[in-house]
């Protein structure tokens, strides 16, 4: 089955992003296809490459990045949510004259159109961290 995820929660604040990660791994292990993981609102913080976690905690940002790379997932952060929260790629940082790019390069920055596209092309869309 083709499944997409929408993630609303920031890592480390609420449990939703962790639940989503575990769900995503289990869905892949069961042979389902993950069409897209869409990070919306505070969920975009999961794509922040500048986060630093204590050594004795699971680095959820790194865990997402490695899952996205390992399975070549289409991971998209909502551009409107991301800009407000300082999750920028090099293009956006230059466009808005900000001092640093912060998005993990395995993630794309795009619009809600990508979320609609995920709805159209998936059998199921599951929301986490609402």
């Amino acid at each position: 089955m083709i499944i997409s995820l929408v993630i609303h929660g920031a890592p480390g604040t609420t449990q939703g992003a962790q639940t989503a990660l575990t769900f995503c791994r289990a869905a892949l292990a069961a042979g389902h296809r993950i069409y897209r993981v869409f990070f919306y609102e505070d969920g975009v913080h999961n794509a922040n490459a500048l986060s630093v976690w204590p050594q004795d905690e699971q680095d959820l940002n790194a865990a997402w990045a490695s899952l996205v790379r390992e399975h070549e997932l289409d991971a998209v952060v909502c551009v409107a949510s991301a800009l407000k929260r300082g999750v920028l790629n090099a293009d956006e940082a230059s466009r808005y004259e900000k001092p640093a790019a912060s998005v993990e390069p395995a993630f794309d920055i795009s619009g809600l159109g990508q979320w609609v596209d995920a709805c159209l092309n998936s059998d199921r869309v599951v929301s986490f961290g609402v």
């Binding site: 909502c78 551009v79 409107a80 230059s94 466009r95 808005y96 004259e97 795009s110 619009g111 809600l112 159109g113």
Partner: protein, 114 residues
């Protein structure tokens, strides 16, 4: 990289972002619209102006930069069904009319690129 700027005939310098939207919405006036349009190779006629004023009214009314379909309906409602067609707007403003008209009208850059 610095942002682009528009220099008006009176010497005013208007800063734009990389996609040609105004950095400061308050900079907008008729001359700015004329200069933005001529940069796009469009010479503004009264027909253009009616539509630009309508897109500004759309933003005033709803707080949204319109997508094409709602803008077309809105234009049709105000100017008549013969003009409430995307072809009419494309003839005046070219390919992606809602984006162009919003930009010329000094609306904020749409939060989500579709």
């Amino acid at each position: 990289m610095g942002n682009a700027a528009l220099v008006l005939p009176d010497g005013r310098r208007i800063t734009l972002d990389q996609d040609g939207y105004l950095t400061r919405l308050n900079d907008w006036d008729g001359e700015v619209a004329e200069a933005l349009a001529s940069h796009d190779g469009i010479s503004l006629t009264p027909e253009h102006w009616v539509v630009i004023n309508l897109v500004r009214q759309f933003y005033q009314d709803f707080g949204l930069s319109p997508a094409t379909r709602p803008l077309v309906k809105y234009v049709g409602r105000h100017l008549g069904e013969d003009k409430g067609k995307s072809l009419y707007l494309m003839t005046l403003f070219g390919g992606k009319p809602a984006l162009t008209i919003s930009r010329l009208g000094g609306l904020p850059r749409p939060a989500n690129c579709f």
